[in-house]
């Protein structure tokens, strides 16, 4: 396939597209009919009350949960089609396209910062020296210069989350998912994490961010999605959704945050 061809498809199709996604846990329908698409270089924020299915949506996109119905496409190719997943090898290839940053960091406690970041790309067959150089650059970007030999327990929550972000970035993903990246942090530590995410947005990293930081979401997003009860209730330009919400439920939700 020619380079032109792939380039053209890049421009014309979203990195991630989800159509009619449904997911339930036993009898509990958590995602009822979710459709969204994320264009290259865009930041999409997902807001909504707890239990509305935000994490489940991200986890479905990252193949950590199995959806029952709908489509998931990466770069225009089906990972899930009408509720049927692609083959395992195919899914592994899709896995190289996204990264995930968890609420609880999920760093590997027995690995140094450097090993946390470097082992995944090395296991994928990249050259150690190159990976290490990239890791040092990422640590610098995360404001963690000099901490490469530290172990996670020696770091603050904010530092751990920044290591987790560096770890995800080291694999050069096309799209990065954040599931409430600052919710487990002490309030005084959220700023440093939000700052690096904002920096990534400025660099046009494609991201989907589940967050309760409304001002942050408003500032960095190209699009905001408000979820409730397994549905997307409202979505659009952040100024529209935050400044002039159309739906009653959105208004009610946002008014709880503005008190």
């Amino acid at each position: 396939m020619s380079e032109n061809n792939t380039k053209a498809s890049r421009e014309s199709c979203p990195i991630l597209e989800i159509k009619g996604l449904q997911k339930s846990f036993n009898d509990l329908a958590v995602l009822r009919d979710i459709s969204l698409s994320v264009e290259p270089g865009n930041v999409v924020s997902i807001i909504g009350p707890s239990g509305s299915g935000k994490s489940t949506l991200l986890r479905c996109a990252a193949f950590l949960e199995t959806a029952e119905k709908g489509d998931i496409l990466y770069d225009g190719k089906y990972a899930l089609r009408d509720g049927v997943y692609a083959e395992k090898a195919e899914l592994n290839r899709f896995r190289t396209l996204f990264g995930m940053v968890f609420q609880n960091f999920n760093l590997f406690p027995h690995y140094s910062v450097m090993k946390n970041i470097c082992e995944p790309p090395i296991l994928r067959g990249e050259i150690k020296a190159e990976v290490e150089e990239r890791a040092l650059g990422l640590l610098k970007k995360m404001g963690l210069e000099g901490r490469e030999n530290a172990y996670p327990y020696q770091l603050s929550g904010g530092q751990q989350q920044r290591v987790a972000i560096a770890r995800a970035l080291a694999l050069n993903p096309e799209i990065l998912f954040f599931d409430e990246p600052t919710s487990a942090l002490d309030p005084e530590l959220t700023g440093e994490v939000l700052k690096v995410i904002r920096q990534l947005a400025d660099d046009h990293m494609t991201m989907v961010v589940v967050t309760h930081e409304m001002a942050f979401a408003r500032a960095i997003s190209n699009r905001v999605i408000f979820m409730d009860g397994g549905y997307i209730i409202e979505e659009g330009d952040p100024e529209e959704v935050f400044g002039n919400p159309k739906k009653e439920r959105t208004k009610r939700f946002l008014s709880n945050y503005n008190q």
């Binding site: 990252a62 193949f63 950590l64 592994n92 896995r95 190289t96 996204f98 990264g99 995930m100 968890f102 609880n104 999920n106 760093l107 590997f108 406690p109 027995h110 082992e119 995944p120 296991l123 994928r124 172990y151 996670p152 327990y153 770890r167 995800a168 694999l171």
Partner: protein
């Protein structure tokens, strides 16, 4: 019989005591992992059967299991009792300890948060890589104190080999005690076990310390 000859005679059996000890660990530590994985199998039949055997091995005396493994083949099938009793003794010990280690491993594996698996999966680790590189090292650290307990118990349990007259240190001591009508061999045995376990304690303490580079 002087105390010195007594100690020397019993000392001759120490090699066999050590053989039981080390061979049991050599076989039961890995076997326990296999049993633990079977016990945690998603296949309900496999996990139920494994659980049944674990319960039997932990719920009946090791002494009975020793007798069963050593003499069972003779009574059941007429197979003559093997000349070298080390083989049935180690088989019985290894199986019994594997059952205990399996439950320790299982507890350790189940205590690792699912987030570790999920992070590894998203980062592209295969299931095997996740287990060997991410899960197992953390499990080893967590279960070390329980493993130490079992190893200390094993040192003392080697004395049970007397029930099948395997000539290890305690068996010899018991024979001397009978022939000399003396309690002294048991005191000597006690001191031997105590010293053995002092060494075990040192070694395991050092291993635990080496795993203390992270929390």
């Amino acid at each position: 019989m002087s105390l010195l000859t007594m100690i020397l005679k019993m000392g001759e059996g120490l090699g066999k005591t050590c053989a039981i000890f080390f061979l049991t660990l050599l076989f039961s530590l890995p076997l326990g992992m296999v049993v633990a994985l079977l016990r945690m199998s998603k296949n309900k039949v496999i996990s139920a059967i494994t659980r049944f055997f674990i319960n039997i091995l932990r719920g009946t005396p090791l002494m009975l299991q020793l007798l069963a493994v050593t003499y069972g083949p003779y009574y059941l099938f007429g197979i003559s009792v093997s000349r070298n009793k080390l083989i049935p003794v180690v088989i019985a010990f290894a199986i019994n300890y594997a059952a205990y280690f399996a439950e320790i491993y299982r507890g350790g594996i189940e205590s690792i948060p699912t987030g570790q698996y999920e992070a590894a999966e998203v980062l592209g680790y295969s299931r095997f890589q996740t287990f060997m590189r991410i899960i197992l090292p953390q499990v080893v650290k967590r279960i070390m104190p329980s493993i130490t307990n079992e190893v200390v118990t094993l040192v003392k349990d080697t004395s049970l080999a007397f029930t099948v007259s395997y000539q290890e240190m305690f068996t010899i001591g018991k024979q001397i005690a009978n022939s000399q009508t003396s309690f002294l061999p048991f005191v000597v045995a006690g001191v031997f076990y105590y010293i053995f376990n002092l060494i075990v304690d040192r070694v395991m303490g050092r291993v635990e310390k080496r795993l203390n580079y992270y929390k």
